[in-house]
């Protein structure tokens, strides 16, 4: 066989603890309440003229709401490092795709070359 000395199988299930934590109901209700409030906040704020800042405020609220859902409804707050890393990767890659493509969109016409 590949070796002779037995070792602990610590590499295999070192992070199983994250999933056994039972989130108390009050956390869910608090998050729910926050989400509802923020939904109506963003609705009413949209009717105020903030110029360029409307979209930033709307997105900031949306990001905060999404974070609450991810952290508490989806248990990331209590989860393993690997799961947290996976979530961060997905956000990072999405932003990468959006940002780099937009650098083309934003810089069209900068160099004075026709059509680019």
């Amino acid at each position: 066989m590949a070796s002779h000395v037995a070792e602990t199988d610590s590499t295999k299930h070192s992070h199983s603890g994250g999933e056994h934590h039972i989130v108390p109901k009050r956390v869910y209700f608090a998050v729910f309440f926050a989400l509802i409030v923020l939904t109506w906040v963003t609705t009413f704020v949209s009717r105020v003229d903030l110029g360029r800042w409307n979209i930033f405020v709307a997105l900031a609220i949306a990001i905060f709401k999404a974070s609450l859902v991810v952290l508490f409804f989806m248990h990331i707050w209590y989860s393993t490092r690997l799961t947290k890393m996976i979530v961060c990767c997905s956000v990072f890659w999405l932003i990468l795709m959006l940002f780099i493509t937009m650098t083309d969109i934003w810089t069209r016409g900068w160099m004075g070359v026709p059509g680019r």
Binding site: T8, H13, T39, T83
Partner: protein, 235 residues
């Protein structure tokens, strides 16, 4: 010679039966399943992400058209529908919570509530789609974007892009919800058979992740489609 863990006998017989042969322990199986679900959600982020990209590009270029077209959506219907979906997220979280506690009846109750709230959301969306069809806001042959006063939308030539993205993105979202609704039915059926115990309720938990993800997508769709220039400043 080999030192794989000897699985301690589990209190609930279901846990052992649910352990698949290629896993060494229920913990490993659950851990793997959870990671698998999260990796799947990563693919969903990138999937929706492509359309978000198209949205950002075109909104950057045609802000007036987007604002004008957005004003043709109903702010209050959108906000209420968002509320409905958030409620369904709460009920889903409750269903998972009670599954972890083994409260069989409450699992079914909250799954049913989630289904009903999700169905309400879809019903409202169907109403909105029909409304858009009637008002000639579906891109294609009879497209004609007009505001309440009957005047053509600002920069009307570019408004089909807004509506293409509206139907594309909310349609994709709705498709995900329909798939979710079907899965809830399966979960309810299994819950009634008593399949889910505190030792093994993984399908409920993983589906909860999916449902919350679909909720998150809507959390972004709502401001992007319903809340552009509601103050009328761009008019």
């Amino acid at each position: 010679m080999a030192s794989h863990t000897i699985t301690p006998p589990s209190a609930a017989p279901h846990a052992d039966e649910a352990l698949q042969h290629h896993f060494e322990s229920p913990e490993q199986q659950k851990d793997a399943s959870t990671i698998g679900m999260w990796v799947f959600l990563v693919t969903e982020v990138m999937f929706f992400g492509g359309m978000f990209l198209a949205y950002f590009v075109y909104r950057q270029w045609y802000p007036a058209a987007f604002a004008s077209a957005s004003n043709n959506t109903s702010l209050w219907i959108g906000a209420t529908n968002t509320t409905v979906l958030i409620c369904s997220s709460l009920t889903m979280a409750m269903a998972v919570h009670f599954a972890s506690l083994g409260k069989q009846k409450l699992i079914i109750v909250f799954l049913l509530l989630t289904l009903m709230l999700g169905g309400t959301f879809l019903g409202v969306k169907a109403y909105e789609y029909h409304d858009k069809w009637v008002r000639h806001e579906v891109p294609g042959h009879n497209f004609d974007c007009r505001d309440e006063a009957g005047k053509p939308c600002v920069d009307a030539g570019h408004t089909p892009l807004f509506f293409a993205l509206y139907f594309g993105m909310t349609g994709l979202h709705a498709t995900h919800m329909i798939v979710g609704a079907v899965i809830i039915l399966v979960l309810i059926r299994n819950a009634r058979k008593g399949l889910y115990t505190p030792a093994w309720y993984t399908p409920v938990e993983l589906f909860g992740l999916y449902w919350h993800f679909v909720d998150i997508v809507w959390i972004f769709l709502f401001p992007l489609f319903y809340l552009i220039d509601r103050s009328g400043a761009l008019k």
